[in-house]
Amino acid sequence: MLMRAGNAGDAGSYRQLLRELTPVLRAAARRGLFRAGMAETDAEDVVQETLLAIHLKRQTWNEEAPIGPWLWAIARHKVIDALRRRGRRIDLPIDDFIEILEHGDTEPNMIVADVDRHLEGLPVGQRNVVRAIAIDGDSIDEAASRLSMSKGAIRVALHRGLAALAVKFRKTDA
């Protein structure tokens, strides 16, 4: 329902959907990494990468089909991809996981290094726009006036910046 609204361009419902999905994706990412004996610190990277994929590939969801299998397939694909890229190396002793699992679903307050590093690698125009909207919380209009760009140019830079972030995630060899 919310995804349909998101596909129709309703930013508010779409944001709500992504927010509600995040804890589920986080649990799935942690479980996947945990099973492979990998650091939970990477889970937030996987969550962000999965959110980007859900966003950039949302046109592949058939609106008549149930959304669950679609979401699950994307999440699984991204966890597997992360495991493959990181070569399944073991990052932390098992004791650390107990503590982490007890944390529950709160967003870790740690810095998620990957996305920031990837953001640095974007062309400056895209980087400024993504930063203004994501970190400074600007709306499209505010970003347009602050960066002296047209709203259309902001939209294009934002979309390209997000797509470029997804590519950079994919090319990470952590």
Partner: protein
């Protein structure tokens, strides 16, 4: 950047929509197939008396229908492959109808054609030409299909690439079928299959890299 920040950026981008895979594929194949038609008329051209032959040569009709059917079924199949979580088994099974029909046609040919003519029908007069022409005609549709499928999200990129190659190979074969004078199902089963397999293999190789997401 925190995850909440990223979500804010994604929501701000909600209005920018990209084309669905089937729309992208259709839009890419229109020029792709048009260019293949152009190459066809420039390099090969219609077989003489094609339309007159349609009425009296069931093998020719079968050959044309089969390649067209394969193009439709593989298009359907590949669109399933690029949707995460979609069940592609049904369309894969349906796709198997094409080789099944070809096998039946070969049986009929075995029963109706004297054994002395078999090798002549199998080798035909254009085997190498067929192996060259189908990939030649399928190349542009393959590029178009692969680029369009980047809008999709295949769980198995190489398989989706192979599907795109199958589709492009079938388009090339359908065009070539209107040129080639060899109509025997023996010929089609051997040389058309081999030529389409070449296109599918190229699609799988390229797709494994290009269709990752």
């Amino acid at each position: 950047m925190k995850t909440g920040d990223l979500i804010r950026a994604l929501a701000a981008d909600a209005e920018t929509r990209t084309a669905s895979p089937q729309r992208a594929l259709a839009l890419a194949l229109i020029p792709g197939v048009a260019i293949a038609f152009g190459l066809y008329f420039a390099a090969l051209g219609l077989r003489p008396h094609l339309f007159a032959l349609l009425g009296e040569n069931p093998r020719l009709v079968f050959k044309l229908c089969l390649t067209f059917l394969l193009a439709c079924l593989s298009g359907r199949f590949v669109l399933r492959l690029v949707r995460p979580g979609a069940d592609a088994r049904g369309s894969a099974l349906l796709l198997a109808v094409a080789p099944a029909l070809l096998a039946i046609a070969n049986l009929v040919e075995l029963l109706t054609v004297p054994a002395a003519l078999w090798s002549q029908r199998l080798v035909g007069s254009n085997a190498i030409h067929c192996l060259e022409s189908i990939p030649f005609l399928g190349a542009v549709p393959l590029v178009a299909a692969l680029l369009a499928l980047r809008h999709g999200a295949p769980e198995h990129p190489a398989l989706a690439g192979a599907g795109a190659g199958l589709l492009a190979g079938a388009i090339g074969a359908a065009l070539y079928a209107t040129h080639c004078p060899d109509d025997s199902p023996f010929f089609v089963a051997t040389w058309y299959t081999l030529a389409i397999a070449i296109v599918a293999a190229v699609g799988a190789l390229v797709g494994a890299r290009l269709l990752r997401w």
